[in-house]
């Protein structure tokens, strides 16, 4: 791999991991606060899966540049994170959380399916592994979108409000990183523009069938993963507090 491609791949792996890590933290905020016990457990499982996926992507990065995944997760400042802004937004209500997870799961399913054909075997292997776990997420969140959309007037209203709030942010998932075209050219990662068409078609169909109003005006669409919402700072302050207080965690 050329040094340029390697640098682009390190950046991409970091962005993939950061999406999973930040979403995992937002989901984990529901632990102990879920609407019913079974859903509390389900979302805690999903959060744990996403954390595992973040760890998988960071271990691929570690193989390239030797960085320690724990250091990256717990000792970087907000400016160094490369997550999409959608995933930073506060957890909101149940409709907001379920919709975000659904939009992300659907994107991930398309991305991972395509990435199983990566010319870089570690990416292909990780994608195949993660894909097996992700299909359970999509099954779950897709059902929730339908349930809330077709449930009561209130649940529909809340889901529609969540959709209007998230729609523009979700588009950022399909904005390539600077230099990503090198990776696409070498067949290491799939091209986002193509995936976006599939994603758009799929989510539009499901959301409309669930009683939601689409299409929507694009709204605010973040472009660079170097910029973050103010929410990332407070999220990290909590997520990183234990590791920064006692990195060795020898005392329980």
């Amino acid at each position: 791999m050329s040094p340029k491609a390697q640098a682009a791949l390190i950046a991409k792996l970091t962005a993939l991991a950061d999406d999973e890590l930040i979403l995992s933290h937002r989901d984990s905020e529901w632990t102990g606060h879920g609407p019913i016990l079974e859903e509390d457990i389900a979302l805690a499982n999903i959060a744990q899966d996403e954390l595992g996926h973040a760890s998988t992507w960071l271990s691929l990065r570690q193989a390239l540049d030797g960085t320690d995944p724990d250091r990256l997760a717990f000792f970087r400042d907000a400016e160094e994170f490369r997550c999409a802004q959608l995933l930073e937004l506060p957890k909101g209500d149940w409709a907001f959380t379920m919709l975000r997870q659904y939009l992300f799961d659907r994107y991930e399913l398309h991305w991972l399916s395509a990435a199983t054909a990566s010319t870089y075997p570690p990416v292909a292997e990780a994608a195949a592994k993660i894909l097996r776990e992700e299909r359970f997420h999509l099954q779950h969140t897709q059902a929730w979108v339908e349930r809330l959309g077709q449930g009561t007037e209130e649940s529909n209203r809340r889901l529609q409000a969540a959709l209007e709030g998230q729609w523009g942010y979700a588009q950022q998932l399909f904005v390539p990183l600077p230099g990503e075209e090198i990776l696409v050219g070498e067949g290491i990662v799939p091209e986002l523009r193509r995936l976006k068409e599939d994603w758009l078609e799929n989510v539009t169909r499901h959301l409309q069938a669930s009683g939601l109003k689409l299409p929507l005006p694009p709204g605010y669409q973040p472009h660079s993963r170097e910029h973050h919402t103010e929410h990332l700072w407070s999220l990290l302050a909590e997520m990183q507090s234990v590791a920064r207080w006692d990195a060795e965690a020898r005392i329980w």
Partner: protein, 163 residues
């Protein structure tokens, strides 16, 4: 080639690893769960290849440490490698282990078959054997299990996800 190696054989290592229970489901061991993929012994050093069940499984660290510990107890140096490919499948769980899971109260995983089909055949209640059961939640007490309820004996139970 001439004299037998003074080191324990790969078979002896496999046998030792069979003594390691799965930390989350102790009625089955890590070998019959299909977590240990390969054992190589070379001049006092055992290289174990393992594969994670679920990426986020919190038991992975414990399993890795247990593998190293079991190998060292045989007087060998231990190296544990993790591979992701081919991805772990519940089809690798041995038939004996599946029976033990059922006796333990966990419906064993069905053959994976077509991955797109999420619920291909009914899940049998491990308590009364009824096939009239309902999936209540794809997610259970651990990443590898779902929650079901039996419509015959009305008891909830856990079932292994087929992956």
């Amino acid at each position: 080639m001439v004299s037998p190696a003074p080191w324990p054989s790969a078979e002896a290592v496999w046998a030792a690893l069979e003594g390691i229970p799965d930390p989350e489901i102790p009625v089955v061991n890590v070998v019959e769960m299909g977590i240990v993929r390969e054992v190589q012994v070379h001049e006092g050093r055992a290289t174990i290849t393992m594969t994670p069940t679920f990426s986020g499984c919190p038991a992975l660290h414990t399993i890795r440490e247990s593998l190293e510990h079991a190998v060292r107890k045989l007087g060998l140096e231990a190296e544990v490698r993790t591979v992701l490919s081919p991805p772990w499948s519940t089809d690798w769980i041995s038939p004996e282990a599946k029976q033990r899971l059922e006796r333990y109260g966990i419906a064993p995983p069905k053959p994976v078959g077509d991955l797109i089909q999420l619920e291909p055949s009914p899940t049998r209640c491990p308590r009364c054997g009824s096939l009239d059961t309902t999936l209540k939640n794809s997610f259970g007490s651990t990443l590898c299990k779902s929650i079901y309820v039996c419509n015959t004996c009305h008891e909830p139970f856990e079932g292994f996800k087929a992956v």
